[in-house]
């Protein structure tokens, strides 16, 4: 189902990315403000697109991988905008916007699926399951981005060699606390997403847990994030180690999202549950 709203969202994401990159180089405040506004407009278009899709399909528009990528991108931007209100760190956008745009580009490169939606997908549990999982993913994307920024900045301070990023990136404490907050917020969403997922599985398929590869990998991801959160809260892990760990966790999450879908067959596999699929 082609939609102009999707292309508008993609266009504005790309524009915002360009703006944020210019900001990274030029350090002009108005550029970042303008980019943030463009990103927000793109977000509004994207929201319209999702609503239109929802109305058309009668369920959350995440049934094929294309829609899943686009929904992921929407969640990342949503989380970024909320974080922007709290932390007001302009340069975060220079890292988040390209990531969101990247997800949109992947999404746009995939074919539009068409066909009737099977009735089992028209369940409120699916919508709740997918929304919570992806909001968690969006928050974890922020931890990932903040961790990369942290590692860049930390390396410069440790090695005492200051490149052009030194003055552009915020302080280590700020980056670490962004990482921390995003993790603390993201983990409950992931947990909730998995619980609602299993309830949905019970409703739709009659079983809470089926050892489907995606389920297993989600559990692995959950365990890794749980370990990171635990270390942070009890032992006081922070800084470099926490940053590296959150990057590792996010890579596992990406594998769960893409890898477990594409290479391992299971009922979460989009081809089998896709709108046009068997």
């Amino acid at each position: 189902m082609r939609s102009p709203w999707f292309f508008l969202a993609l266009l504005f994401d790309l524009l915002a990315t360009g703006g944020y990159i210019v900001y990274l180089i030029k350090q002009e405040k108005w550029v970042s403000r303008a980019s943030c506004l463009i990103l927000f407009i793109g977000f509004v278009f994207h929201t319209v697109f999702l609503c239109v899709q929802y109305a058309a399909l009668g369920t959350a528009p995440v049934l094929d991988l294309k829609s899943a990528f686009s929904f992921f991108s929407w969640c990342v931007v949503l989380v970024f905008l909320v974080f922007h209100l709290k932390f007001r760190i302009m340069v975060l956008g220079s890292f988040v916007a390209p990531f969101a745009a990247f997800l949109m580009i992947i999404s746009s490169a995939m074919p539009w699926a068409a066909g009737p939606v099977k009735p089992i997908f028209k369940s409120i549990w699916l919508t709740v399951h997918v929304t919570t999982i992806f909001l968690g993913n969006g928050l974890f994307a922020i931890t990932f981005v903040a961790a990369i920024m942290y590692l860049i900045q930390e390396r410069q301070i440790k090695r005492k060699r200051f490149g052009s990023f030194y003055s552009r990136l915020p302080s280590l404490a700020t980056l670490d606390s962004i990482n921390h907050y995003a993790l603390i917020c993201g983990f409950p969403f992931l947990t909730l997403g998995m619980i609602t997922g299993s309830i949905y599985a019970q409703v739709a398929l009659g079983s809470y847990w089926q050892w489907d590869p995606k389920e297993v990998w989600s559990l692995v991801t959950w365990l890794f994030y749980a370990a990171l959160l635990h270390e942070r809260l009890t032992v006081g892990w922070r800084g470099r180690r926490a940053a590296v760990m959150s990057i590792v966790c996010f890579c596992i999450l990406l594998f769960t999202f893409v890898g477990a879908t594409l290479w391992v067959k299971g009922y979460h596999d989009f081809t089998s549950i896709g709108t046009g699929g068997a």
Binding site: Q153, I157, K158, K160, F162, Y166, S167, P170, S171, L172, A173, T174, V235, G236, W237, R238, G239, R240, R241
Partner: protein, 436 residues
């Protein structure tokens, strides 16, 4: 005839510290200098700036040679020094060179440490004193306000003030890049040298409220602690103190490292991995270099800090080129304003002359016209005035327009002769017109 802006001064380049010390003026001698300037008939407006690195006397005068002599005598009296020692040390700048000099001082381009922020505050204070003592006038007021504007422009448009160029300032900047804000952070001073105190002072100015001081001789620790409202601790307590500290400044004379790798490594867990920043300004070093390898621990020794500064100095030099361009631009604008100012007396003289003629002619006409009511008199007056104003309108606009050009002086001269503004028979306008 024409008023000139003159600046007489000396700075760290032209005069050695001994001489600058003699002339460094406290607030009360600043007052004396300003009232002396006010007393001099050859000086119209004046301002006096004195810091540890420079002395500047800015004034406007119609007779600049006489005024310069007077100012130099004032300076020699202030420093109780013979005139000959001074004359070679002072530079004297006139006109736009003086304006440019003032702009460069205010924006810290002429400072020993280019970009240091104190000078603007000092120059603002000097100007405040001048306004208080009523030695500043139209030109100095405008000049100083433009100078503050230039300084602000340069600060926001170039990176000249953005990076640290002193060891303690560099340390504070680094601390901010690690901790974001220094509020509520704990500082531990190990060894209490002068440099360490300076660094500590900078940290306190940036929001540090809690500090401990450790020193081999406990008395000295107590001494320094009293100055910072800090706690004095003994040297053996350092290991315990490090658990709570966020920033540690080391400056002991110890030949062996005071802070060892093992010591910090064991304290990390107790610290719950909070970041720890060592500023080691001791030579030989107090902190084992290996400590920097520990997670969330950052060690900067004196060479590292100097390295940071060297980079920043390079950057400032590049930014200074852009700043000079801004100064040039603003000097040009000021010159334009000053030129328009030179038209003002001529315009005023023109208007006064016209007014005098109108009054004289009205007086004569009233006699001829016989009895008039007040309304009629008023109407005649308005008529005469508006004719005079309309006639003068175009010449005045023309002069204002030409004022910004170099040839403005020529037109002024022609105008003054054309309207005969420089004759001493100003009161006789009426009888003059009679003759013709």
């Amino acid at each position: 005839m024409k008023t000139k802006i003159v600046d007489i001064g000396m700075n760290h380049e032209t005069a050695p510290i001994e001489l600058r010390e003699c002339l460094a003026a406290g607030p009360e001698s600043t007052g004396r200098i300003l009232s002396a300037l006010r007393g001099l008939s050859c000086i119209r407006e004046g301002m006096f700036l004195s810091t540890c690195n420079r002395i500047e006397v800015l004034f406007t005068s119609d007779r600049e040679a006489e005024a310069k002599e007077a100012v130099l005598s004032l300076m020699s009296a202030l420093g109780e020094l013979p005139r000959d020692t001074l004359s070679g040390r002072f530079y004297s700048l006139e006109g736009m060179d003086a304006v440019k000099h003032i702009f460069r001082i205010a924006s810290s381009l002429d400072s020993m440490v280019v970009g240091e922020p104190q000078i603007l505050g000092q120059i603002k204070e000097a100007y405040r004193r001048a306004t208080q003592e009523r030695t500043s006038g139209v030109i100095v007021n405008r000049l100083m306000h433009r100078a503050f504007h230039v300084a602000k422009r340069i600060r926001t448009e170039t990176g000249i003030c953005s990076s640290a160029v002193s060891v303690s300032y560099a340390a504070v900047e680094l601390a901010k890049k690690i901790f974001h804000s220094l509020d509520g952070k704990n500082v531990l001073l190990i060894g209490a040298g002068e440099m360490a105190e300076l660094a500590a002072r900078h940290l306190v100015n940036n929001g540090i409220t809690s500090m401990s001081v450790a020193n081999r001789t406990f008395e000295r620790a107590v001494d320094v602690a009293a100055r910072f409202e800090a706690r004095a601790v003994s040297f053996d307590e350092i290991a315990g103190e490090i658990v709570d500290a966020d920033i540690v400044i080391c400056s002991t004379a110890s030949p062996e490292p005071v802070i060892t790798f093992e010591q910090i490594k064991t304290s990390l867990r107790k610290r719950r991995n909070r970041p720890l920043f060592f500023i080691d300004i001791a030579v030989p070093r107090d902190v084992e270099p290996r400590v920097n390898k520990l997670a969330n621990v950052y060690v900067y020794d004196i060479d590292d800090l100097k390295g940071v500064i060297a980079l920043n100095v390079e950057q400032r030099k590049r930014e200074a080129v852009r700043a000079e361009r801004i100064v040039q631009e603003e000097v040009f604008k000021f010159a334009q304003w000053l030129n328009t100012l030179s038209v003002v007396p001529t315009i005023v003289a023109l208007q006064e002359k016209a007014d005098a003629i109108v009054q004289a002619e009205l007086k004569k006409s009233y006699n001829l016209l016989g009895h008039l009511t007040d309304t009629q008199k008023g109407a005649v007056q308005v008529l005469a005035r508006s004719i005079a104003e309309k006639v003068l309108n175009d010449p005045i606009l023309f002069l204002k327009g030409k004022a910004e050009r170099d040839a403005g002086d020529t037109y002024l001269d022609v105008a003054r002769r054309l309207f005969n503004l420089d004759s001493n028979r100003g009161e006789k306008y009426g009888s003059e017109s009679d003759d013709h």
